[in-house]
């Protein structure tokens, strides 16, 4: 189980005053659970992920995974962040760790095949489309079969069919390998389509103001009536909570079935 307790996270402000990004934030992610963190922009969502991922160590509080420091994590950023000088396969192999390189390589190839990237194993990222680059980044995040997967709005700025396809791949891989997932997004629909549980953060200093279990059957269609009802219901029940969110995230997709 992932146990997050952040008493305070401050950033030095330009004026010299400290900006309080997160305060009294507590949340847990059970083993194999898919938790989405939703909140208005600037509420400290990315900061939260950076702390959990060990990229940011200057904070008051503690983060533990099954009692220890999270060591084996996959991380997916807002941008694909692939090494442009490494081929697709080498980008995935770069982070793969273990003694048996041959076995890891076979696993990476299989994973990339599942992401429909079998034809471009030797291509450089510069030749790929945005969607393909995200898929490589997704494969990279899963190649070590991590116990914990951290995702920072990984499907932002993709067209909705591409994003939906990636979400399907993500869910398939997550169910296969059973990682705990902490997925940050500002898109409530995306959160409802993916998560077992959604944690809503307040505007800065961010803390969890609502912990919502999403009890919808899988596989979920992001455009289904059920999900739509839940979304509308939430907006009606907690207007103040979601005030900071974009009114209709995924405007583009509205009323159009997912491809």
């Amino acid at each position: 189980m992932l146990d997050i307790r952040i008493d305070a996270k401050r950033y030095p402000d330009r004026g010299g005053r400290a900006h309080l990004a997160l305060s009294a934030l507590q949340m847990t992610v059970r083993r194999g659970e898919f938790v989405c963190v939703v909140g208005p922009s600037g509420c400290g969502k990315s900061t939260l992920l950076n702390i959990v991922g060990g990229l940011d160590r200057v904070y008051a509080g503690s983060v533990s995974l099954d009692g220890g420091i999270p060591a084996d994590t996959g991380f997916m950023f807002q941008e694909p962040r692939l090494m442009p000088w490494l081929s697709v396969l080498d980008n995935v192999m770069l982070v793969a760790h273990g003694d048996e390189r041959a076995r890891l390589r076979a696993a990476a190839i299989e994973l990339l095949g599942a992401m429909e990237l079998g034809d471009v194993l030797d291509a450089y990222p510069g030749r790929l489309s945005g969607g393909m680059m995200r898929r490589v980044a997704l494969a990279r995040a899963f190649v070590n079969e991590p116990a914990l997967l951290l995702m920072d709005e990984p499907f932002v700025s993709l067209d909705s069919p591409t994003a939906n396809r990636l979400r399907e791949m993500l869910v398939a891989q997550w169910r296969r390998c059973g990682a705990s997932v902490l997925f940050v997004t500002h898109d409530l629909r995306e959160a409802l389509a993916l998560a077992d549980r959604v944690c809503f953060l307040s505007p800065a200093p961010g803390r969890v103001v609502l912990d919502l279990v999403v009890d919808l059957p899988r596989p979920r269609n992001p455009a289904s009536a059920q999900l739509e009802r839940l979304h509308a219901d939430l907006l009606a029940r907690h207007p103040e909570l979601l005030a900071g969110l974009p009114a209709a995230p995924g405007d583009v997709t509205e009323g159009r079935p997912a491809a």
């Binding site: 991922g53 060990g54 990229l55 060591a71 994590t73 996959g74 991380f75 950023f77 941008e79 962040r81 692939l82 090494m83 442009p84 000088w85 490494l86 770069l94 982070v95 450089y124 990222p125 510069g126 990279r140 951290l150």
Partner: protein, 280 residues
């Protein structure tokens, strides 16, 4: 996109004798253009030789021999083994000085690009190093360390190191923190991070430094040899100068220039193409 942020540094001054390498994959139209360019290059070379020949026959003087005479001299000096021996000695010095300058310059440049304190501390030294005349370092090295090969190589390297530092520092400052963050997020060992995430970002800068470095070093090496060594192309040029032997001077110059051009075209450029193939 990422790839575009890593294009060759515009701030790096490249010598005119180091033209851009042609793209690796070329469409038919591009190939035709390249072929046309090649013809132009050959025509330009021929025009140079013709002009030389014309000037030589007009002047009709010992101080301006014609191309044939110089070629004959190259043949004679090669057959007598003097030219190959002196050339080998000089090239050895070039190679060692180049390697030392690149290694030291790269390390210092990376440190200065990475840590502001190091940059602040060494910046004045760097400005001094960039502006100190080559002749001064050469004289001082000979005076302080004696008239030996190591003083010669040191003098050359000292002249080159500051320009390498400037170029590599530029690259180290431009390193993408987001990619390094990936390495940290996945907890890559520092060796992997350095070799496969950090260094590849500096390759264009290393190549720029290497190219301008080679042209600078081979010019300085001759001066160093002229001033204090008793073998090498620079020494030989000095001897020929004493005898006012212009044919000999031109013979050595031509061969040496040809060797350096070959090194640039057959070693540096292919190496660069190999290392930056992902950009094509």
């Amino acid at each position: 996109m990422r790839a575009e942020r890593l294009v060759r540094p515009a701030s790096v001054v490249r010598s005119p004798d180091a033209p851009r390498s042609p793209p690796v994959t070329a469409a038919p139209a591009v190939v035709a253009v390249q072929r046309g360019e090649r013809r132009l290059r050959i025509a330009s070379l021929l025009a140079f030789v013709l002009l030389w020949q014309l000037a030589a026959s007009l002047a009709d003087s010992r101080t301006l021999p014609d191309p044939i005479a110089v070629l004959a001299r190259i043949g004679a000096e090669t057959a007598a083994l003097t030219l190959p021996v002196h050339l080998a000695v000089t090239l050895g010095r070039v190679a060692v000085a180049f390697a030392v300058a690149m290694l030291v310059g790269a390390l210092v440049g990376m440190a200065m690009g990475r840590w502001r304190q190091v940059d602040a501390f060494l910046d004045a030294w760097l400005v001094l190093g960039l502006n100190i005349p080559a002749l001064v370092t050469i004289i001082l090295c000979y005076v302080w360390f004696g008239l030996n090969d190591w003083a010669a190589i040191l003098a050359v390297a000292i002249n080159k190191i500051p320009t390498v530092v400037v170029t590599v520092r530029e690259g180290a400052r431009a390193v993408d923190a987001k990619l390094l963050e990936v390495a940290r997020a996945y907890r890559l060992p520092w060796r992997t991070t350095f070799l496969r995430v950090y260094l590849p970002q500096l390759v264009p800068y290393f190549m720029a430094a290497a190219r301008s470095g080679l042209s600078l070093i081979w010019k300085i090496v001759l001066v160093v040899e002229l001033l204090g060594r008793s073998e090498g192309v620079g020494f030989q040029l000095n001897v020929l100068f004493q005898f006012f032997d212009i044919t000999g001077i031109l013979a050595y110059t031509l061969v040496f220039a040809a060797v350096v051009l070959a090194a640039e075209g057959w070693v540096l450029r292919p190496l660069e193409r190999r290392l930056t193939g992902w950009r094509a």
